[in-house]
Amino acid sequence: MAKPYLSLESVGKSFSRGAASTEVLKEIDLKVERGEFISIIGHSGCGKSTLLNIVAGLTDATTGVVLLEDKEVNDPGPDRAVVFQNHSLLPWLTVYENVSLAVDKVSRKTRSKAERHAWTMHNLDLVQMAHAKDKRPSEISGGMKQRVGIARALAMEPKVLLLDEPFGALDALTRAHLQDSVMQIHATLGNTVMMITHDVDEAVLLSDRIVMMTNGPSARIGEILDVPLARPRKRLELVSDAAYIRCRQAVLKFLYERHRFVEAA
C-alpha cells in the first residue's frame, strides 16, 4: 500500500496552566491521500481548530507526530498554507499586495519579477478578484476578503491547503457562492484540502471524507464518513439525491444524537 500523503499519528494536545492540565485532543490518527478533500466537523470547543493549528505547525503537539510526505511537521510553512477564519488580510496593503507578499516570499528564487506578477494575477483571477486588485481590505466585502485570503493561500502552492472555518463569518448566499468557487478550484488544481467546519451541508457538499470529532475535553475522532458523491457536484441536484441525504443524516445523527453538545458546567 502506498504511503499516505499527510499522516497524523496519535496526535494529542494538552494545555497546562500551573499544575492543572487539560487534555484537548487525544490519540488522533488520520491518513489523507493526495488530492483528497477532508472536512473536520464537531461541536465548538472540541479542538478542531487546535488540530488544524497542529497540522499548520502554529501549535506544537504534546504527543504524536504529523508527517507530510514522510517529513515531520514542526513549524509553520508555506507548504501548509492556511486560510484563516477572519481572513487575516493586512489592512495596510492592497488586495494585490496581500497576495504578492506571499508570492514574493515563496517564489523569489524560482520566478522572475514578471512571472511573480503574472502568478499573483493568476491567483486573483482564480478567485475572481482581479478587478479589485488595488482596493484595500476595508473597501471590500467580507466574502471578497475571504476570496483574497484563499488566493493568498493558493499562491503559495501548498501541498496541503488548510481552511479554518473559512466561511463561518459569511451570510448564507455569499457562503454558497464561495463554496462553489472552492469546489471549482479543487477540481481544477486537485489540491489536498483539510477544512474545519461546523456546517453539515458544507461538509457533505465539499468533502470526500468527513472526520467527525467527539466532544472535548480529550476529543477523539468519533467516526470517518466516506461521501460517495460523484464530482462535479451540483448543489441543486444534490438536494434530492439519496446518497447526499444519507450522508447528511449520518453526520447529523452523530452530532446531535450520539455526541450532543453538553455545555460545560
Binding site: L58, P76, P78, V82, S88, W92
Partner: protein
Amino acid sequence: MSLPAIETETKVHRLPGAAKVLALPAPSSAAALQSRVMPLLRALATRIVPPLVTLAALLLIWELLCSRTGSSLPPPSQVINDSWELIIDPFYDRGGLDKGLFWHLFASLKRVMLGYAIAAVIGVALGTLIGQSTWAMRGLDPIFQVLRTVPPLAWLPLSLAAFRDGEPSAIFVIFVTAVWPIVINTAVGIRNIPQDYRNVARVLRLNPAEYAIKIMIPAAAPYIFTGLKIGIGLSWLAIVAAEMLIGGVGIGFFIWDAWNSSLISDIIVALTYVGIVGFLLDRLVALVAHAVTRGTANS
C-alpha cells in the same frame, strides 16, 4: 393556466388647480457657481466664526480689566502699541540677542527638532525591544516607569554637569522629555499586534527584518504616532523652561529677558507666538501620521 386579472385601474380624482406644475427657471451659470461656492463658504464660516467671536470677547474683557489705572498687566491696545516693532518685523537681526521673534523661535525649533529626532529614533527602538521581548520588558519597564515621572527640568542641572555646555544640555532635556511617551506607546502598539498577523508571518516564514518592515511597523504605526504626537507637545513645553535657564538665542530666554527688562508687552507677544508654533507642530505630526497610517485602521 391564466391568473385572474387583477384590478389595477386606479381612479385619480383631479382637483382643479391642485396639481399645477410650476416650471423651474433654468439655472444660470452664476447661480450654479453660487450654489457650489455657498456651502463651502458656509462650512468655512461655521469653523472660523465661533473662535473669532470667542477671541474678540476675550480681548474685550482683557481690555476692560486692564485699562484701569494701576493695573499690573497691559491691555491689548497697549501691547500692540509697545511691541509694534516686534509684531510687524519678526526677521530683524541687530546682532547678539537683539533679534526678531522669528530667529528666537527658529533657534528653539532647531533644539527641539534635534532632541525630538533623537528621542523618536531611540524611543521607537527601545519601544520595539520592550514590545517584542518579555525579558526586556521585565528588565526595563519598571525603570522607565520611574524615570518618566522625573520632571524634565530636574534633568537640566545634571546634564549641565555632564556636558558642561548649555546647548547639548537643552537638547538632552528635550530628548528625555519626549522619549518616554514614544517608548511606551511603541511598546503597547507592538504588544497589540493581532495574533492573526503574526500567524500570517509565521506561515510565510518571514525573517525578522521582513517581519519588522512588512508587519510590525505598519501594524504598530497608529500607536507609534500617538507617542510621537505626545512627544512633540511635551518637547515644546520643555524647551521654553530649559532656555530660560541656559540663556542664549531662543524664545525661552527671550521671555525671561523681557521679564528682566519689564517688557510685559513683549512677553505677551512671545507667548502668542509660542502657542501658535506649538499648535502648528502638533498639526504637522498629526498630518504625517494621517498620511502614513492611512488604511491601517482595522477592518
